[in-house]
Symmetry: C2
């Protein structure tokens, strides 16, 4: 860090409908800030690119405040403390937190957790050992109540959450069917991650695939996408099935009104439930999940695939890649 170095940032220029174009954002360069009392300066190493971020730039009530116009875009990140007036986080500590789409972030330490780069590569703390992993773990086991012998279907199966859902479900003794876009992703979750089957929604008939691979119906459907695939899954539910609502990436950039699942009355016929959750509610149990998943990782039962893009300035295009389904694994930006 020299006196002339600047802090490259991505700020929200305006709200938008549809897929955010370049003019949704403003690339800014500002002086690197100096930590005040109790504060620290974090040099971001990896930024997390997640579907939920689309909701954060909409106006209106949700589970978190919207990002304000002209504010630095909110993002999870891992980085290293390079200046500190905070005793809990001395210089050299690696940390994870909502540090935003920028090279350097000031933090007072609230919501920040230390991470150990010797235990796992840094981006893993944005993936299996971060929010996507926690989301998969609690969504599948707590909300979905997946049990051995049941059939679990997960959409966006090669994505950050989906890959963990499927592997944890296999560890629990479930039959696991993924849905993903393209033969490469499908091959990977089947051959590398051990899913029982994977349906390529870009090239195969999803209805026929569900029929073939879920002969006893679907006991847990973990939905990351919404839209047509949610409807098809609803039409194949087993008795007392659980539909876990994790996201609806197919709908986030919808120019029309949001589309609801036309087959929702399958919940009635099958005495099934559809339930949403927000992973932050499980914060007190993150440690428990991280310990268990860390063990599975050490035993080679739980793999993580990262899709790494380069540089803060790549954010606008990287963000669009996510909604076009072009990422293969957990999408991050290396700062």
């Amino acid at each position: 860090m020299t006196a002339t170095e600047q802090n490259l940032q991505v700020r929200l220029a305006k709200r938008t409908v549809g897929l955010p174009e370049d003019d949704t954002w403003r690339i800014a360069e500002n002086p690197i800030p100096t930590p005040g009392p109790g504060e620290m300066l974090v040099a971001n190493r990896y930024l997390s690119i997640d579907p939920a971020m689309r909701g954060w730039i909409n106006e209106g009530r949700s589970y978190v405040e919207p990002v304000a116009i002209d504010a630095v875009m909110r993002a999870g990140a891992v980085g290293e403390v390079i200046a500190s007036n905070n005793d809990h986080f001395p210089i050299g500590t690696h940390v994870s937190g909502l540090f935003g789409v920028q090279q350097f972030a000031l933090s007072d330490g609230k919501g920040v957790v230390p991470v150990d780069p010797n235990l796992a590569p840094l981006p893993y703390y944005l993936a299996t050992l971060g929010m996507p992993g926690m989301t998969a773990y609690f969504g599948l086991l707590d909300v979905g109540e997946a049990k051995a012998g049941e059939t679990v279907v997960v959409s966006a199966a090669a994505g950050a959450v989906g890959q963990v859902v499927g592997q944890v479900a296999k560890i629990q003794g479930c039959r696991v069917v993924g849905i993903a876009g393209g033969p490469e992703k499908c091959g990977w979750v089947r051959d590398e991650l051990g899913f029982d089957a994977c349906i390529d929604y870009r090239n195969e008939d999803v209805r026929a695939g569900l029929k073939e691979h879920c002969p006893d119906g679907i006991h847990v459907y973990f939905d990351n996408v919404g839209g047509d695939i949610l409807d098809l899954a609803l039409s194949k539910l087993a008795l007392r099935a659980r539909v876990v609502l994790c996201g609806a990436i197919s709908q986030y950039n919808n120019m029309q009104a949001m589309r609801g699942p036309a087959n929702y009355m399958s919940l009635l016929v099958n005495r099934a439930r559809m339930e949403g959750f927000v992973v932050f509610d499980y914060a007190k149990r993150y440690g428990e999940a991280a310990r268990e998943m860390g063990e599975w990782m050490a035993q080679g039962k739980l793999q993580t695939r990262i899709d790494e893009q380069q540089g803060v300035a790549s954010f606008p295009e990287t963000f669009r890649k996510l909604f076009r389904g072009e990422n293969f694994g957990k999408l991050v930006i290396r700062v």
Copy 2:
């Protein structure tokens, strides 16, 4: 019963899309049958007219078999045993069962329960003390888990199920807001049944009404109607709300594809769930519910309103009344 007396029946002539016109049905006269070994002959007194019957005449998998073409239309009924070779049901016994839309039914006693006309008027056994009452009781308390102090909203509030849902919720100490069509029904559930409020969906803005009457949001929404009203209720959910799917009368005669609830992602934001159930699954606990509701009736806390139409031949038009929302109370046909 004389030798020349016939059995007037309504049989299913064809499957149909939309509101079933007269030609969906065939009015038939057949000889009154004679009970074989173990059988009895029931003279129907009251037929139950329920929204679920619309689903029974559709083809395809559901929670019960569809009514076959040319078969007597399935219906719940209460009647009196007038000839019997079944020791469990001697002549003079009053009984409830799926006796169909006809004057006389043969039965082997399976699924038949005796009822006591001295404890409650016969049609009550098709209402509060029958399937609608059981549906309300288990849907509200078991699926919806309504607790004192919570806000319960129920649609079709003056209908067979809705009226019981609201009254049982009041008994539990909930704040109860009904939704019904017209000032007469709304006035009744408010003034006679003690609901805290009722929104007249024909003449009022349901969104504004929910906002006014549910200042803390909706904790339990008991849905009998689907469509727009389900969507509006979803947009007002409280944290950890429960949406109980009981029916979707607004959609049963839909000529287009079924419409799903566009606001379903409110389940995610609010960590809420939407759950279906089928009352038959609670058969073993009917006695428990009937005892408790019988006590409430004896204490004057639980009223029943019956809408009585006349004669088996009125079935086609009476059935349409139900879907036009023209019934006021539990709809029955007096045979």
